[in-house]
């Protein structure tokens, strides 16, 4: 066994049953049908945080999809601008979410130019299962050309590229799919404790496919799958109302 497999060893890959080759299924039939089987593993996918407070949800979604797409102990690389951010990734939180922190490599870069250069290197190299770019705020350097470059590199090397954007309106890009991610109310546990994380996803764009998919996904760490939150009269109603409220606020 080589050193690299010791370094990045963890259990993974069992959660992707019977999906078309090269796609990561979300695990919910309606969504997977819409996406022709799931998200391309050699594609670029964008996750826009719906509001200022949804940056964490968008990042979690990208990390979980990267985790589900991980095969053969390939590492995940997470690039962020390190110095200025007050929100620091927290290892125990990643572990609690079901992502093996040992599989993640964090690259903290001084500026956007360095981040984009490093990400192109990572994607071209092809040794990582997924490369996650965390881009907060306005970033003129990440334009159509930059995303096209990453898309081509991803297709060639078979690396999944996940870009999360906070606090910014969608701009043209060559992403295969583009999502708007928001946190959604969870199904409370006994004694009204917050339950499993639930995400509210809207498909804004799909290259060569339909957009407009709106789905809520609950992440089950024990099974390592997404599923539709179970229907319950009160919380389903409140969830719908909350989503409406958010839409009103965004509008």
């Amino acid at each position: 066994m080589s050193d690299s497999s010791v370094l990045f060893s963890s259990s993974c890959g069992k959660s992707v049953p019977s999906t078309p080759h090269g796609r990561t299924a979300l695990g919910v039939a309606q969504a997977d049908e819409w996406l022709n089987g799931g998200l391309r593993r050699d594609g670029l996918h964008e996750f826009f945080a719906a509001t200022r407070d949804d940056g964490g949800a968008a990042m979690a979604m990208a990390l979980l999809l990267a985790h589900l797409s991980r095969q053969e102990n390939r590492p995940l690389i997470w690039l962020r601008r390190g110095i200025t951010l007050k929100m620091q990734p927290y290892g125990p939180g990643l572990h609690d979410l079901g992502i093996d922190p040992n599989s993640l490599i964090l690259l903290q870069l001084p500026d956007w130019e360095a981040l984009l250069r490093a990400s192109t290197d990572c994607v071209r190299h092809g040794s990582a299962a997924a490369v996650i770019l965390e881009i907060q705020g306005h970033c003129p350097l990440f334009d159509l050309t930059a995303s096209r470059r990453l898309t081509l590199a991803a297709e060639r090397s078979g690396t999944m590229v996940l870009v999360t954007r906070h606090q910014v309106q969608p701009v043209p890009s060559s992403a295969h799919t583009r999502w708007e991610v928001a946190a959604a109310p969870s199904m409370p546990l006994p004694a009204n404790a917050p339950g499993l994380p639930v995400f509210d996803l809207r498909l804004l764009r799909q290259r060569g496919g339909r957009d407009g998919l709106h789905v809520q996904l609950e992440w089950d760490r024990e099974q390592a799958v997404f599923r539709t939150p179970l229907l319950r009269s009160t919380s389903a109603f409140s969830a719908g109302r909350a989503a409406d409220q958010r839409r009103h606020r965004a509008a």
Partner: protein, 441 residues
């Protein structure tokens, strides 16, 4: 003699202010250039450089006389006046050079560097050279002149070797290559580095280690020494990979290498080694799936090794100390077991520092109902807590900080936060502050 007197005698005399700092700087540069001969180089007073040549003549292909000529010649070319001497101990060599003697027995008693009273007393007793002292029993000397005398005497008479402490600690692994003709082409430099890396691979494999840092010293024939260093993200000993890192490093130099009249010697040192047991897989074994390590090493050279981090757990009580970002390691870290069938109990992101928030609660020591942060109001629908995390009083017996009560909360729109109340209401504080410490997925 005063400067004015000297000027009166020699009108064209030029005077310079003594600048001991610059002298020291210059001497240090010369000393580092002397690493060409041996890694054991140090400075000594007054204005001396000590070289420990033990075991170095074989690799140099010189003898003592050749070396003296070589050093004197090089320094004279730069307009330096030198005195050289050989001794079996550093003290003896230094004293012989200082007093221009050929044998330690000829040294005056002042070479002992004791107090001037002692020197005067020795001279009055008719003991003017170390040769006079050498044959005498040491115990009466110690009784009469103090215990420092026999120690100094033994060192000057080459009986006891205190060894020198080198200016720079020699790296645990280093290899070097000397050239009969100075090497003037930068292009061939990488070939030399590859050869050196191949040599170092043998030593590193024997030790079961890999290098985390590699340093190349380029000794130019005029005494200039250029240093190039690369850090690798993971322990490394593969010559091709090491050469690639140096290729990257040389390409990214702000001012390119100037070989001048050529390099006399190139040394590759591995100052920082770490355990690397197994043989590295060759590229041919992993044709379909590239190894991530070359990528990480390249990124380390380009963006600095400190930009590459991995997550590590720490055995600490306070949440902000329970994990850290550390350089990637080849051994996977062991994370504490998760609580089964529970949602994540720790947030994905931690705020550093915790964000101060305004909280409304029904009772001062009760759960939060509503909080305000960055001008927004968050109405809490679900909560779990408190999870009480005490200040680590067992580590700080005298200073006792406030206890934290953590709540996992969810607001109406589904955002999940980690809040804590700083201080127990009533016993620790009357107006506890609230902080937002993290955000869940």
């Amino acid at each position: 003699m005063m400067l004015a007197d000297a000027r009166a005698q020699i009108p064209e005399l030029q005077a310079f202010a003594l600048d001991s700092q610059t002298d020291h700087f210059w001497l240090t540069r010369l000393a580092l250039a002397c690493e060409l001969y041996t890694p054991m180089v140090t400075l000594a007073d007054p204005h001396s450089i000590l070289l420990d040549m033990t075991g170095c003549f074989h690799t140099l292909g010189m003898n003592e006389a050749d070396l003296t000529t070589d050093i004197t010649h090089r320094l004279q070319r730069r307009g330096m006046q030198t005195r050289t001497a050989w001794g079996a101990t550093p003290d003896a060599a230094l004293a012989l050079a200082l007093y221009r003697r050929n044998h330690p027995h000829e040294l005056p008693v002042e070479a002992l560097q004791l107090e001037s009273d002692t020197h005067a007393a020795l001279r009055r007793s008719g003991l003017t050279t170390l040769g006079d002292l050498a044959s005498r029993p040491r115990a009466p000397l110690a009784a009469r002149f103090g215990t420092a005398l026999p120690t100094r005497l033994a060192r000057l008479l080459e009986e006891e070797d205190p060894h020198i402490t080198p200016l720079r600690m020699p790296a645990p692994v280093w290899v070097e290559k000397r050239f009969p003709e100075p090497l003037a082409l930068v292009d061939t430099l990488l070939d030399v580095i590859r050869d050196l890396a191949q040599e170092s691979e043998i030593t590193l494999t024997e030790r079961g280690q890999g290098g985390r840092r590699f340093a190349v010293s380029l000794f130019r024939s005029d005494g200039h020494v250029a240093q190039l260093g690369v850090d690798s993200a993971l322990p490394l000993r593969d010559p091709a990979a090491i050469t690639d890192l140096f290729r990257e490093r040389i390409a990214s130099l702000a001012d390119p290498l100037d070989p001048g009249f050529g390099y006399d010697m190139i040394r590759l040192a591995v100052p920082h080694c770490e355990k690397l047991e197994q043989g590295q897989p060759k590229l041919t074994e992993q044709a379909d799936r590239p190894d991530p390590r070359p990528l990480l090493n390249r990124l380390a050279v380009r963006f600095g090794a400190e930009s590459i981090r991995s997550f590590r757990p720490r055995n600490a009580h306070l949440p902000e100390y329970a994990a850290m970002l550390a350089p990637p390691d080849s051994a996977p870290a062991h994370w504490p077991d998760r609580v089964p069938d529970e949602p994540p109990l720790r947030p994905l992101f931690l705020f550093d520092p915790p964000q101060r928030v305004t909280v409304m609660a029904q009772v001062p020591d009760g759960p939060p109902r509503l909080f305000q942060w960055r001008g927004n109001t968050y109405r809490i629908t679900f909560y779990e807590g408190p999870e009480r995390i005490a200040y680590p009083w067992w580590k700080h017996p005298e200073g006792h900080g406030p206890t934290r009560d953590y709540y996992r909360v969810e607001d109406t729109t589904g955002h999940r936060f980690w809040l804590f109340r700083h201080g127990l209401y009533g016993s620790e504080t009357d107006q506890p502050h609230w902080y937002l410490h993290g955000q869940f997925a």
